[in-house]
Symmetry: C2
Subunit: 113 residues, 2 copies
């Protein structure tokens, strides 16, 4: 198993885990781009957003629900935050396991891409 | 009605609409940040992501489903793309009506925030 996120899910690599259920897991990014930088991933290996079939995309809704909850927990819900899902090379996806970034804790740049 | 996106939904302002159903609508951003820059919004006015209750966040899954379909339609699904939802002032949200950005058509910056 070479996927770093699958190894985190399996407990083979440590992570600062904030949430998990049967479907998804949330942990802090080890190279944070902002004071709050959490990654929310499906536990099952899915390469990227583009690989989700139409009836699988509801997992993005569930990931957003957990992101919202974590934003409240981190105390950034009212001041503001950003969710980002990058897919594929042009999208700038680094780890080829679908993930959503929750970013906040400072005024984020207007540059989205 | 002062919300610019509500006025687009109502047909009071023109838009290059790519998709709509009972819940959501997708149209091209008039100030595109990338060759493909589409906004996906709920038709009902919701200020921001932070205002969605837990059982309302499934709309984000539906918006992602449509974003994925539009990425295929735009021919950018395989090369890559990015979905961004900014919430509140720190998040850099400009129009206070919940929206998801679909961005692609070039190699996007690694800078997410």
């Amino acid at each position: 198993m070479e996927c770093v996120f699958c190894r985190i899910v399996a407990g083979e690599l440590p992570s600062d885990t904030l949430y998990q259920d049967e479907q998804i897991m949330a942990f802090r990014d080890i190279n944070p781009l902002a004071p709050t930088h959490v990654l929310i991933i499906p536990k099952r290996h899915i390469n990227s957003l583009a690989d989700l079939s139409d009836d699988e995309t509801q997992i993005i809704g569930h990931m957003a629900e957990v992101a919202n909850r974590l934003a409240r927990q981190e105390g950034i819900a009212r001041k503001g935050y950003r969710l980002v899902v990058s897919s594929g090379e042009d999208g700038g996806q680094v780890v080829p396991h679908l993930h959503m970034h929750l970013l906040g804790g400072r005024r984020l740049s207007d540059r989205l891409c």
